[in-house]
């Protein structure tokens, strides 16, 4: 059982959750993720760790409402408990002093990016972060990112905050202006695909962090498999970070949609039960 210590909503559908998980708080590094299961009948879903406090024994997750499990999680309150939390899983991010690193985060992808930004900064890099979202309310963790970046560029699709345009426009701006030695792109699959197409044009080595469908998260099931460099890899034990230029994005997006129909039906059913209760 893992108690929710704090629940802070960034917007209607995105919240930061601080959870008691002392062992994980102690051993986690940038890039790691956890698998959670809310209750006896819940499914197991992977969530990347956004932050951790080994003294308080807590980890921080940022969750966007996309389906039944995330909706149920966001409906929980501080003080309530999550049945299972296991981790830290995956390989931690490889950190070194590259020189100048461009960190592009889209939507809730900024959350897993935050510990990477911190670690890169600590390793002596010049960190330029680009935060992107459809609208102003979807730009998250701006202050925290600012604290650990040399520069932050905000992009919104509708121009409601920062500059108007896609994440790639912000990335181009930086690349045109100065030498970038390394890029990290984290966000929705489509954003990572186009973000890495941008850096590829300039031959900037780029890492992405994939958040595929998983069941156990320990290499056992293979639900998370993706083709990387023409070979099947398991995101849970081989990743979650990969060389962006090697990832078969179309296959990955196809696999992300494997349960679209079931997920949609389950969500509709969930909404009905919530309405009845209300």
């Amino acid at each position: 059982m893992n108690k929710i210590v704090e629940m802070e909503f960034f917007s209607e559908n995105v919240a930061k959750i601080v959870l008691e998980a002392p062992d994980i708080a102690n051993s986690r590094k940038a890039g790691h993720f956890v698998i959670i299961r809310l209750n006896e009948k819940g499914e197991r879903i992977p969530l990347t760790i956004a932050d951790g406090d080994s003294e308080k024994g807590t980890i921080t997750l940022v969750v966007q409402k996309v389906g039944v499990t995330s909706a149920k999680l966001l409906a929980m309150k501080a003080g309530e408990e999550i049945l299972d939390v296991v981790g830290p899983l995956g390989h931690p991010t490889h950190i070194e002093n590259y020189g100048t690193v461009l960190c592009a985060g889209g939507g809730v992808g900024v959350a897993p990016m935050l510990p990477i930004i911190k670690a890169l900064k600590e390793a002596g890099n010049k960190v330029i972060s680009v935060l992107a979202g459809r609208t102003k309310e979807l730009i998250i963790l701006e202050d925290e990112v600012k604290k650990h970046s040399d520069e932050v560029i905000i992009m919104t699709d509708d121009g409601s905050y920062g500059k108007k345009g896609l994440v790639t426009a912000g990335m181009e701006e930086v690349i045109q202006r100065e030498k970038v030695n390394k890029a990290v792109v984290i966000g929705p699959a489509i954003m990572m695909k186009f973000g890495s197409l941008t850096t590829k044009k300039y031959n900037i080595p780029t890492e992405v962090s994939l958040n595929t469908i998983m069941v156990d998260g320990t290499g056992m099931c293979g639900a998370c498999r993706v083709s990387v460099g023409g070979r099947t890899k398991f995101v849970c034990v081989d990743g979650p970070e990969f060389d962006a230029f090697q990832v078969d994005w179309n296959e990955m997006m196809m696999r992300m949609g494997a349960y679209k129909t079931q997920e949609h039906e389950a969500y509709e059913k969930y909404l009905k039960t919530v309405e009845t209760v209300a």
Partner: protein, 496 residues
Amino acid sequence: MENIIAEYIKEGRSDAWRAELRKSMKAKERTSLERVQMPEQDPLVRNKNIIEVNLGVTEQMAVAEAHRCLDCPQPTCTVGCPVGINIPKFIKKIETKDFLGAAAVIKETNALPAVCGRVCPQEKQCELSCFYTDKLHATPIAIGHLERFAADYERNSGKMNIPEVAKSNGIKVAVVGSGPSGLAAAGDLAKFGYDVTVFEALHEIGGVLKYGIPEFRLPNDIVDVEIENMRKMGIKFRTNFIVGKTASFEDLRAQGFQAFFVGSGAGLPRFMNIPGENYNGIFSSNEYLTRVNLMKAAHEEYDTPVLIGKNVAVIGGGNTAMDSVRTSKRLGAKRSMIIYRSSLEEMPARVEEVHHAMAEEIEFMNLHNPVEYFADENGRVNKMRVQKMKLGEPDASGRRRPIPIEGSEFDIEVDTVVVAVGVSPNPIVPSSLKNLKMTDWGTIVVNKETMQSSISDIFAGGDIVRGGATVILAMGDGRKAAVGIHKYIQEKIKAS
């Protein structure tokens, strides 16, 4: 270890009750009795439910079967048992109707009798080396059925016997993984008096017994009862804990753990690496079975989904393939097929499972091998191309390997495919230990007698050492390792 087992088996045969029992019936009379038939659910009813297929033998049937056993002076059945069960002794207990006594005998060396009675390949082990098979060329004693009977009788009696444990020595030992090898090791270590903690990565205890083997072959309740007993022996369990990740071996050493048994299993599914294998609707058997067994995906009120197929192809010929294909039928598939590259005789699955599957209207396409998958516009598999195979000349090992027949390819309509072609060792534990000696196949190198790895306080067994074997072989490893760990710790104490 072999000598210890031989001594143990010999012991007690000369007891008065055994001697008398042997005299009570002539050997000829015993050998003239017919082997008991396991009652089972009707195949066309059971392929629509998840209730256990085998219903278990009755008391009368068990006693009658026990009469067949000759209580041989040099029993050969026991040689075939990886955990060294005193088979003649427990069977003779059944003959005297001391069913609880029989269960106690099994539990002296086997922590999970109700499990082994159900899932062991007895026809390749104890029953293969039974005097009846070996010398009389007759059907062997139904040792597996009797083991299951004794275990079930004890469980249903409400008088479960908790194995005796030595006085606690307060020394902490960690078991990594709660599958068959880990549970066997934990059971024996507790008997020696150690303070045992079993660490499990998943949210349930039991490993493959829970996520892999389906309800219709091994009900979860039965596994839970056995685990509850182990708790009563003082064994502690921690779920959601990955040794090497949640805490390192070093962290656990600092917490006072003196030795480790690693039974982390072969949890890394193999695929065939053929075109289209990553289309949706193509699962590893581990994923398919985990969704259905562990996550209960087929139950409406559970959140985990599973794709339910109309035309399901399962690739492979082992027990996992049989479990997957029979599961698909139960989920409502119209057509469930086994596609296996070699002949029916070469299939590694338990004979009983193959028979059960056939009776449940599973189609068998032997000597066929998939070469490519195709999908619809949404990426869901809709067709597979298979190639016919033929058996080649026997090789040095006497095995006839399948050879593809060029130009024999044809397509089959499928919407779900389960790939059950084997598993590789799980990389998490080995990758967290820099100096651990591994084979090229990713298994841990151990001393075969003691199960000790290249790191002196780490022992290992089961699929992480074997690369994919059976429940009972894993349990045998766990028992050996418990003895190895006991010796290691005692010697360390003496030296200090």
